[in-house]
Structure formats: structure tokens, C-alpha cells
Amino acid sequence: MTNHWVDIKNTDLAIIMGGNAAEAHPCGFKWVVEAKKERKAKLVVVDPRFTRSAAVADFYAPIRAGTDIAFLGGVINYLLSNDKIHHDYVRNYTNAPFLIDAGFKFDDGLFSGYNAEKRGYDKSTWSYQKDKDGFAMVDMTLQDPNCVFQLMKKHYSRYTPELVSKTTGTPKEDFLKICGMMAETAAPNKTMTVLYALGWTEHTVGSQNIRTMAMIQLLLGNMGMAGGGINALRGHANVQGITDMCLYSEVLPGYLSAPTDADKTRDEYLAKRTPKALRPNQMNFPQNFPKWFTSLMKAFYGNAATKDNGFCYDWVPKKDGAYDAMAIFERMHQGKMQGFACQGFNPLASMANKRKIGDALAKLKYLVIIDPLATDTSEFWKNHGEFNEVDASKVQTEVFRLPANLFAEESGSFTNSGRVVQWHWKAADGPGESKGDSEIMAALFLKLKEMYAKDGGKFPDAILNLAWPYRQPAKPAPEELLMEISGKALADVTDPKDATKVLVKAGEQVPGFAMLRDDGSTACGNWIYGGSWSQAGNLTARRDASDPSGLGQTLNWGFAWPANRRILYNRASADLAGKPWDPKRTVMKWTGTAWGGNDIPDMRPNAAPEENVMPFIMAPEGVARLFSPIMADGPFPEHYEPFESPLDNNPFHPGNAKAKSNPAARVFKSDMDSFGTAKDFPYVATTYRLVEHFHFWTKHAHINAVLQPEHFVEIGEELAKEKGIKAGDKVKVRSNRGHIKAVAVVTKRLRTLDVDGKKVHTIGIPLHFGFKGVTKPGYITNTLTPFVGDANSQTPEYKAFLVNIEKA
């Protein structure tokens, strides 16, 4: 979330699309209801299903799963052709005036530089024209045909309401009504908030779905504003924190891009990741990358990380390719993995194509499950009748199951979707012999360390020298760990302008990431959490809910990263002169000497407006990108069909088969055969959560099992009639990857859509059920889903695929 949960109450219009906030995040959704009650705000829901969010919406429009870019591209076209944009904002705070390389082209669904063999783009033409100083060239009149604004206008001129309606199945008048409602928030003192979740990410165009809406928000001038922003409503309680800690292959804690084989030396590595400003006077905050990375190495390796050994740069494993979850299972399926551990993760149920996952796990030598619950994955080898048809005697994987504690049995901090880090305290011991995650990881590590110390082995250095300063080595305390994450000075940190002035004394916790240094004098486990445990103590444990601004900022409750900032890009809430666009909802303003207001400025505090330091400080441009050169599948989002589409071609590019689905999406060769066609599988399926359950956890909790006891699928009345299915019947749903059986819920809430002259039925399939749990034993929904991922994030396409249905 660029903003935060409570801030939603400040909005004038809430759009829920690509998500179902009422159902997946009811307690956050309350702030939408609050905005409706207190601000007379409107709520609009666009979804393939009439969801629980839609139940309390002012307006609902149906959409075919996987066509959000067509819809939103149409909105962009509407805003531009009706001149409903926030001009000053667009001109000054986005890259609309930036001039793009003349070689940039878009031709029938493909951007310039496409390589069909590699399923990817050479992005060299997707770049700014630069002047002699290396700065990007701009045309502030926005008239140059090569400026982003004109290119964007041209790109989206194809997204006419007719074509949008034909592609999405959304009735044209519904589409236009929503365009009109959104357009109203182009007024400087009106904001719209966008609440999305996995309904946008879980597509082969997932990242671009979000980008399209981000562009709309920029055109309307809603970023950085109270009640605005683009808000990812994330899945797990601490998915934000774990993302920040970067438990994934391509980044190190604090989103520091991890080294690859191409980054032979530390210098090369740092040079590539330390950009130069693209416009004069910009903060270009990533220029601090070396400080963050060096401080991380000091936290990881302590005294072993020295200037002489490049702060252990070579100890950091280098990637030779993709190692995301899909890639890991593809490797496992190919027999390239020996061992695997799942910590509070149930991939058999939650990854796409369950059969492939089960087959892959069976090829492992050893599997370690660290979980509070008996997960489906932990019993992938066990025959559970029709729900998991395997022969245990043929599965040679050695499986360990280690009991972990739950939230109530440990102290520690969680980071919510609004980036607010909050501490919690242990209430009781876990059952039996269960242990905390830190303790389990420490036990594994210390045993390995002992073995390497005694017996030697491959490259023991990083293991033997991993900093382990914990008072009880077997039980690193959460307090010690958060202090390490937040960072401390190892030597006196002095003012760069005055070396005699000590800013932080050796041994003290740093007050924030600004104090981090690249000379080894600071250690910080995660720069964005810098200052969360300062000399003042554990700021995540603060519980002062006072809210003098009335905006819900509660700056003394917990700690929001970065720097306790609650609304990102908040400098953009004021005009060039520093005057708030909406004085009634002041987030940030220039007081004459400094930035002040009701948040921590996302700006150098003393950057006077005349210095022209632009609000998007994490971009070397200083402004937000309507044209993004870094996306894998195009600088402007384009509509592509889901990999399994009910249509024969992409209505936007009917003549180009290559542009039917995302030409840069992640597909493994071995999975090409696993896709089905509309001939055999005529219905669009989409998977989702229900409010009564949380993933595959609450099926183990009695109360939740009572509230939603059995697997079901939802179908519209028209399809039900065609198929002779009545509510309560058992039905069989098949995709090209397998089948499930479940109870049919027949509903008016799933409409048959008119798409490109074709009737398209949608089948909704909740995901929460499985063969382990207190709920009625059931199939795993992801038996059906395709193993194909987004071009940028590699997130699988759970939200749009093809199935067939019959009475079981």
C-alpha cells in the first residue's frame, strides 16, 4: 500500500478491482464503509463475480477474468480524450514530458525489441532521449510526438468503449459510468483510492494490471494524497515484512537486488545498482545502495566482513537464473533438487497444478516441513483416496515434520499491508514440543556449523563466520534480532560535512537509514527498517493511538517503514509551491523553512520548492513513470488474453497470434502441453478466497469449518440451467491438468457475459479446501490451475483459466 488502512477513510471514491477487500480484508474494508458513512464516498466494484464487496457497493460492473488492462486502458483513453486529468500534477510529477527514443515502436501487439525465441524484449529503445549531461530530455508543453504523454495518448486511443466492452464483457454504459466517476477525482481536492490484491497479480499480465491503474492514479493526481494511492492489500499478516526481509532469490533484505553471475566483483555489482539522477537536483535515493549493502554484510558477517575482503561480497551466493517458486518446482520436477524445506507454506495446495507439485516433491531425497499444522504438503505422499491418489510405497522422499509455534506463542513484529511494523507479545507456550521459527532455524544452523567446524566441507567460511551474537545461541531473541535489523553504529558515525561531529556513537542503535555508511562502520540487517529500534527503544511496540490530524496517521503507533512515513510520495500531496492540493486533508506542506504537516516528509526536509526536487525520490527521474522502461513486457501496459482464453484471438490484435497472450510471460517448455483450449474447456474459471477462511490454515480451525464446511464451486443460473445443475448438486470441474469435485452453488452473482459476440460463462472456485483439516475432506483447487507466470513477478495465473463442468 502506498497509503495505509485507516487512510482509506479519507477517500471520495474507492475502487475495488482485482481484489475483494470486504472478503479478504474485512477489518481494513471497514475504512471504506467509514468513508461512505462519514464522507459520502462512493464505492465501485469491478469483478467477474458479484462479491461481498459488491454487496455494499454503490455500483458494480462485471468483467471477464483477465481483461483488466482492456478496461483500465479504456479508462486512460477516456480521461485523455475527455481531458479529465490533473494537468499540473501530470506535467510536473510524472514522466509525461520526457522524450523517448525515436526507435521505440509498438506494432500490432508487440513493442520494439521482441525476441520470440527468448520470449523477451531487448529494451534498448525503451529509453529516454538524453542531453549532453546525461539528463533525460523533456518537453514541458507535452506536445512533442515522442514525449511520453503523446505516446501514451496514441497507445490508448485504440481502447475505445466499444472495444473495451467487446473484450471485457462489461456493458458499455457500466464502463462509461465508472469512467465518469473516476474522472471526477481529477479535481485537485478529490481523491480516489484503489484497493487491489491477487485478482490483479495472479495473471500473466499481473504487474501490468497494477501499472495501468497506477497510471490512472497519476493522471488523476491521486498519488501521495490522503485517501488516494494504489493499495495492494496483501495476503498474510506478515507477507509485507517477509517481503521486506526478502526471503526470495532475487533480492537481499531491504530489496537489495541480489548478485548474479554477471556481477563478478563487488565494484561491478554496486555500479550497476547505484543509478545516476536522470534529472537535475533529484534526490535519486537509490544512490545510497552501497551504504545499505555494506551495512547488510556487516550484519550478516560481523567482523569477518572487512574492506579487504570486499565485505564478504563473494560469500553472497550468485544467481545463475530464476529461482522463484515456479522455477524451483520446475527444477524439482526435472530432478535437479535434492532437498527442500517448507516453513509455514503449503505448496501442494497453494502452487498451481497440484499434480506437477506432487510429482516434483516425490523426486526429492528429503523434505522438511516446519509448520504449526499438519499440512496437505506434509502428506503429499499419503493416499487420501480420490483427493490425493498416490502410492506411498513408491514415494522415496524422506519427510520430516517439525512443530512450529503460532503467533500467540512468540513475541516479535509483523508488518501490515500499510507498512506499519507492530510488536506482539507471547501469550502462552505452544503445544507439546513445538518451537519458535527462530529456534528451529538456529538449531539447524548451529548443528550444521558444528558439523562443518568438525568435519570441514565445501566452503565452510560463510557458515563458520556468520555473525551469531545472540546471548542464547540456540534461542536468538526477537528483541536482539530486531535491533540487528534496525542497525547500529560499529564505530562513531560522523557528519560527512564535519568529521568532528559525531552523529551516532559506536555501539548505539542508528536513528534511521540516513546514518548508514559504506565503510563498514555501521551494521544494518534491513535498511528500510532502519530506526525501528533506535536508542529510544523498540518503536514497533509504541501504542499511542493519538491522531491529532484526524487523518488516521497515528504516527506514534508502531513504526512505519521507511522512517515512520505513513503515506509514500507524500510530497506529491502539495503543488509545486508546496501548497496542499486539498488543504482540508493536508498530508505535507512547505512551511517556508521545511516540509511539515501530518506525516514524515517523503523528501529532504529542507528541500525548498524552488529547488525542484520532485516527489518520487526512489526514481532517478524524481518523477513517477507513466512510461516504464524497466518492465519486462512493455513500457505501456497492453491487453493480452490469459494463457487459457475462451477467445480465439486477442480482440486488440486479431491478426497476430503472437500477441494473443503476454508474449513475455513465463512459460516452461514442459508445461506448453498442459494448457487447454476453449473447444474442450469452454468456461472461464477463476479462483479466490472466501471471507470465512484463510488460505489452507483455517480449515484446521473448528469455528471456521462450521462457517464454511465444504468445498463448492459457484456457477451462474444460465449455465446451471444448460447443464441441468441444481444448487447443492455435486459437480465435477475439469481442466487440462486434472479435475475436482465439489458442491454447486448456483447464483445470480455470476453473470453470463457477452464477449466478442460469444457467451462467456464464469465458474468461481474457492481455494480453501483440501484433504487435511476439520472441514469436509475435499479436492485441492489448484489441481486445476495452469503453471504459467507473470512476465515480471513470475506469479502464476490462478485467476483466469479454462475448465469444463458436469454433474458428478
Partner: protein, 295 residues
């Protein structure tokens, strides 16, 4: 421990008035159906707080689960899909005890103290006094009480009388994530409802209104409805509920009249005996009989 933690207004099967000199604030729960997303947090909170766990059922082809109130599910969400003018509305109503001012259950209950109405408006069942006859079910205009198969006693929403007694909101109201359940004094709830109804009218629901049916003397669980003119749209919420005339007859006039009638018969017999004397076999008859026998 005090004999009672809340002032009592009425007790079942009790003919004398309860101590009623003290005036306590009437409380109410307001269910703003227009803000309800049917998430069932209220159901979960109710089970959790009241230490009841219903059986894990099955899916009946609807979202409603459990599909009806039970002795272990004191509240359930009822979902109704209503299509009007081409636009779909998903009307979701939290069903459960309405805590009527004139409670049919209490009226019907034959067991003294099994059903109590507190002065704050809460109608509570006391299972230790309940004999399990089910008359409360018969008496309820909203079909709410349920007899447990485990212990044969009647159960229903207590408005969390244990929480209310210490000044807390009922568990469902506390949990409700969208604020669709509000709790407070009945007059505050009516004010709040008026505000919500105003908002709904502005949003095009011309018939929005408060459901506080006079037929049962008003309720301490009220609804804000978008279509107050047609409460039956909300999964059969009765438009004009009241205690059934049959129940009123049975537990009203019938009781004294029948008791009197029986008393009259008994006393009538007694006085008849006293006044007319026994009907003995006459001497004549005895003689005649003897005579005839000897013939």
C-alpha cells in the same frame, strides 16, 4: 455473588411483578444491513465468546452456513439475491433473537425463571431453569429459540448478557468489521439509524427505514433496511410480526378462564354434594330388589 446482576423486568411463569422501581437504560443492537458484507464474523465471535461449537456441516448449495439457527448457532447470516431493474442486490441479514419488548417466548414459557427479560431489554434464557418443553419456540414470532439435542434445553442469543452486565458490547457487535452491528442505548441506536437512513435515501433507497416492529412492542435488535417497506425481501423477515393470537389465547385468556372453570367444576360438585346430599339407593328399591330376588 449477588442474586442478580441485572435488574429484572419480567420472569417467565411468574404472576407477580419483579422489582421494578429502578430505571435502567434500555440497550439495543442495531444491524445496519446496508453495511453488512455477510462475513460471519458475528457468528464466529458468538461461538467463540459463548463457548459453543456447532457441528461441521455440509454445503447446501448456498453461502448460508450453518444453514439455520441451532442450539449451538445463535446467529446466522441469511443471504438473498434480489434482482430489480436489471441490477442485482445481495441482501444479507444477520438473523437471531430480536429481544422483543413483548417477548413471545417468555409469555409461552411454563418454567418459572427459565426466561427472563432484564430491565435493559435483554431477553435471556436460563438453561438451569429450562425444562425443555419448547413452548418458547411456539411462542416466538421470529422462529428463533432452538432445543438442544444434547441436553434438551432451549438456547438462543443472550445478547451476551454476561458482557452487557459488565458494560461491554455483545461479542458480535464488538467483532463486526464493517460496523454493521452497532450497540448502545436504544435511543442512541435510533439516532444512529436515522443518520444511516438519511444516507441511504441520498443513495437512492427511497424506502430505507428502521425495523423496530411495534407488533412485539419494539425490539432490542433493530435493522436498518434499504427496503424497509418490504422486509420479507431479507430472507423472510416478517413484515408485521407479533405474538400469534393462538399463543396469546393459550397463554393469555385461557389460563385464568380454564383454571376458573376447573375450580368451578370442583367447587360445584362439592356444593352439590353438600346441598343435595348423596344419591343413595332408596329403601324402596332395596326392598323391591330383595323381593324380586326371592321370587
Amino acid at each position: 455473588m449477588a442474586l442478580q446482576s441485572l435488574d429484572i423486568k419480567q420472569r417467565s411463569a411468574t404472576t407477580t411483578p419483579a422489582p421494578s422501581v429502578r430505571q435502567t437504560t434500555e440497550v439495543a443492537k442495531l444491524i445496519d444491513v446496508s453495511a453488512c458484507i455477510g462475513c460471519k464474523a458475528c457468528q464466529a465471535a458468538c461461538m467463540e465468546w459463548n463457548d459453543i461449537r456447532d457441528e461441521v456441516g455440509i454445503n447446501y448449495g448456498v453461502y448460508d452456513n450453518p444453514v439455520d439457527l441451532t442450539a449451538k448457532s445463535w446467529t446466522v447470516m441469511r443471504f438473498a439475491e434480489v434482482e430489480e431493474g436489471g441490477r442485482l442486490q445481495w441482501l444479507i441479514r444477520k438473523d437471531g433473537c430480536m429481544h422483543c419488548a413483548d417477548p413471545g417466548c417468555l409469555k409461552a414459557c411454563p418454567a418459572p425463571g427459565a426466561i427472563v427479560q432484564y430491565a435493559n431489554g435483554v431477553v435471556d434464557f436460563h438453561q438451569e431453569n429450562c425444562i425443555g418443553c419448547g413452548y418458547c419456540v411456539t411462542g416466538c414470532p421470529f422462529n428463533v429459540p432452538r432445543i438442544s439435542k444434547d441436553d434438551g434445553k432451549a438456547y438462543k442469543c443472550s445478547l451476551c448478557s454476561d458482557r452487557v452486565a459488565v458494560g461491554q458490547a455483545p461479542a458480535c457487535a464488538k467483532a463486526c468489521p464493517t460496523g454493521a452491528i452497532q450497540y448502545g442505548s436504544k435511543s442512541d441506536m435510533k439516532d444512529y439509524a436515522a443518520k444511516r437512513i438519511g444516507d441511504l435515501k441520498e443513495r437512492g433507497f427511497a424506502k430505507a427505514g428502521l425495523y423496530d416492529p411495534a407488533g412485539v412492542g419494539g425490539t432490542h435488535v433493530m435493522y436498518v433496511l434499504h427496503h424497509a417497506d418490504r422486509p420479507e425481501l431479507y430472507n423472510g423477515l416478517p413484515a408485521d410480526p407479533g405474538i400469534s393470537p393462538l399463543v396469546s389465547l393459550w397463554k393469555g385468556m385461557a389460563k385464568p378462564l380454564a383454571s376458573l372453570a376447573l375450580g368451578a367444576v370442583a367447587l360445584g360438585s362439592l356444593f352439590h354434594y353438600v346441598m343435595k346430599g348423596p344419591n343413595e339407593v332408596s329403601k324402596e328399591s332395596e326392598r323391591e330388589a330383595e323381593k324380586e330376588e326371592s321370587q
